[in-house]
């Protein structure tokens, strides 16, 4: 076999120009394949991260809604036959209470969840509506009380802080982090004190320790964060008052099933990430399909290039094939020579392609990409996953093998007598 490969390489070197053209074809397609997939997946990860990093896998909360059954109806049903339609009550005055937003027995739920082996992290939140008083106007805003350390660790909170430190929010009393839009409207900077009014009219002063930018402008105009303790004091509620429990799972795939289970078990509303962000999953899949399709098409095209060049080479080398056969090389040997020839082109092209692909990825990775929507990135994102290199090489060798197979088989079937006598 080594002899056959050395013959193949000698023939390649004699036809250097054609061989290089074929190898460059493979190289180009591999380069594009690797670059495209790295770039596409970099973008995918970025966009997914934008949502997924900040979104709990399951969110437990109480929806603010009217009781589905008025008490008078329930009382009637318990005493009489439910199917009796001859009577009709017209009392529909029971309205939702704000107290309903509170998760009942929140600490108990958290303790139970923390023991669950499927759960990675349980983080409580307390969300409330407030007004910021700026001069004579009041700005409507939503304040979220958070456990800062857990939010930094599991929800990338620190990544979105454009000014200030997350630490200051955790340690400082009456500290608040404002959304960029909100801070701009109030002309507030770090260290400033802002006045806030709760929905029931209580007033308090909060000190700005940071400014965050999520990339979604509308959200940044109304959102601000404080520690849970601060919000509880602001609302005058006890330490057990929580409105949301955010759960991160070890396996995101379990989220929908587990959300249903938790909703039933704790009698709360549960929203899982797949339901909440179904369109992201679809978008990622479509982008993946497109980039793989383009990559594979490129490789197939380069495969046709190799096929053509090999066919031509075999025509030019009919004499050599005949002489090899006459001196004792079998049809199988000749086929292996031309197959090896094709594989050498494929391998050289693949190695070059990986190298250039890596260089291209680096170049793209260094192109500045500054946008308001994505505060955490400064250059185009690239996924350097070696998986794509591996797929590219596998596909390249596969296509060159197939492209080489047919011409090689033809070469194996050359009848030396015909060639030698034909002269």
């Amino acid at each position: 076999m080594r002899l056959l490969i050395s013959i193949a390489i000698t023939i390649l070197r004699a036809k250097l120009k054609q061989s290089v053209v074929a190898a460059v074809g493979v190289m180009f397609s591999i380069t594009m394949f690797v670059t495209l997939l790295g770039f596409m997946n970099g973008l995918n990860d970025l966009l997914d991260g934008l949502i997924l990093n900040r979104t709990p896998h399951i969110r437990l909360y109480n929806e603010l809604k009217a009781s589905p059954e008025q008490p008078v109806a329930r009382a009637w049903r318990e005493k009489h036959d439910a199917a009796d339609t001859t009577v009709h009550h017209f009392i529909r005055s029971v309205k939702p209470k704000s107290e309903l937003q509170k998760l009942r027995n929140a600490l108990g739920i958290m303790r139970t969840l923390e023991k669950d082996p499927r759960v990675l992290d349980v983080t409580p939140r307390l969300v409330a509506q407030v007004f910021f008083n700026v001069g004579t106007t009041d700005l409507n805003a939503q304040i979220s009380g958070i456990e800062v350390e857990q939010e930094v660790r599991y929800y990338m909170f620190a990544d979105y802080l454009v000014e200030g430190e997350a630490r200051d929010l955790a340690t400082g009393n009456n500290a608040v982090v404002l959304g960029k839009g909100l801070a701009d409207m109030m002309a507030a900077n770090i260290g400033d004190v802002v006045q806030v009014t709760t929905a029931v009219g209580d007033r308090a002063l909060l000190r700005v320790t940071g400014i965050f930018q999520s990339g979604i402008a509308d959200y940044d105009k109304v959102q601000c964060y404080a520690s849970i303790r601060t919000v509880q004091e602001l609302l005058g509620r006890p330490g057990s008052y929580l409105t949301d429990i955010n759960v991160k799972l070890k396996d995101i795939g379990q989220a929908p099933a587990m959300a249903r289970e938790l909703a039933q078990r704790f009698d709360v509303d549960a929203l899982d990430i797949e339901t909440a962000n179904a369109q992201f999953e679809t978008g990622t899949q479509v982008r993946n399909i497109i980039s793989y399709a383009v990559g594979v098409v490129l490789l197939v095209v380069s495969g046709f290039g190799i096929y053509n060049i090999l066919n031509m080479l075999i025509y030019e080398k009919l004499d050599s094939i005949a002489i090899l056969k006459a001196t004792g090389f079998s049809g199988g040997d000749v086929r292996r020579i031309f197959l090896a020839l094709s594989m050498v082109i494929g391998a050289v092209g693949a190695v070059g392609g990986l190298l250039f692909g890596f260089i291209m990825q680096h170049i793209i990775d260094n192109i500045p990409f500054v946008t308001q929507a994505l505060p955490t990135v400064s250059t185009f994102p690239i996924d350097y996953d070696p998986k794509y290199y591996l797929i590219a090489v596998t596909f390249a060798l596969l296509t060159t093998w197939v492209a080489g197979w047919f011409p090689a088989r033809k070469a194996a079937e050359v009848d030396p007598v015909e060639i030698i006598r034909g002269k």
Binding site: I7, L324, A326, T327, F329, G331, V417, I420
Partner: protein, 226 residues
């Protein structure tokens, strides 16, 4: 050495079928002993080249028996036939048929490397030895396409000798050469037959050449005359 003939042909028939069936070889029988220098002559179209390619095992479309070193080749699989060609037959053609991509030395070495009986270094030493015998040692590292016609034919003979074949077959080996080079080739062949005890079967239409060989087989219309 054993007593089997280097080559034995028993009642070989062959026809071309395109477009109509035309018989080209009719009941051809002959044998070549070890160390015998045999020439085959005849008018063009008499089937002498066709016979040679059947004997060379490259053409398998015939009926009858061909025995090389006592081994029947009719019906043997292609891999085995390639092996026989590699091991027991050396070829010299009218047109040199060297591989133009390879050096002279490498051209001579290839059948030896394919046989795989010796290491690459030993094959190279053998190849240099053959080239020296043919006075071509100083050209060993040139590319094959840099040589003159006579030189190429000598390299082709060196290649035919690399595996110490039982029989050397030639299809008009001097047909493309001038008088002087033909003479050189003839004396090399004679030397191989007498000194090295190899058999030679040379198809030629050069009457002078044929007359000087040990035995001349004359063919006409697909039959052996004598």
């Amino acid at each position: 050495m054993s007593n089997t003939n280097a080559l034995e042909v028993v009642k070989v028939n062959k026809s071309f079928h395109d477009p109509v069936t035309v018989p080209v070889l009719k009941d051809v029988s002959l044998e070549v002993r070890r160390g015998e220098f045999v020439s085959v002559t005849g008018k063009s179209g008499c089937g002498k080249s066709t016979l040679l390619y059947i004997l060379s095992t490259m053409d398998t479309d015939y009926t009858g028996e061909v025995l090389i070193d006592g081994e029947a080749t009719a019906g043997a699989d292609k891999g085995r036939l390639a092996r026989i060609r590699n091991e027991k037959i050396g070829f010299v053609f009218q047109f040199h048929y060297l591989l133009p991509e390879f050096s002279v030395l490498r051209n001579v070495m290839l059948p030896g490397l394919k046989l795989g009986r010796k290491s690459a270094a030993e094959v190279e030493a053998d190849a240099m030895d053959r080239l020296r015998q043919l006075d071509m040692a100083d050209q060993a590292l040139k590319m094959a396409n840099q040589l003159s016609g006579g030189q190429k034919q000598r390299v082709a003979i060196a290649r035919a000798l690399i595996n110490d074949p039982l029989i050397i077959m030639g299809d008009e080996p001097t047909g493309n050469l001038d008088k002087k080079n033909s003479e050189i080739v003839f004396s090399i062949f004679e030397h191989i037959a007498t000194e090295h005890k190899r058999s030679l079967l040379i198809v030629t239409h050069d009457v002078d050449f044929a007359a000087r060989t040990h035995r001349n087989i004359e063919m006409e219309d697909g039959r052996v005359l004598r």
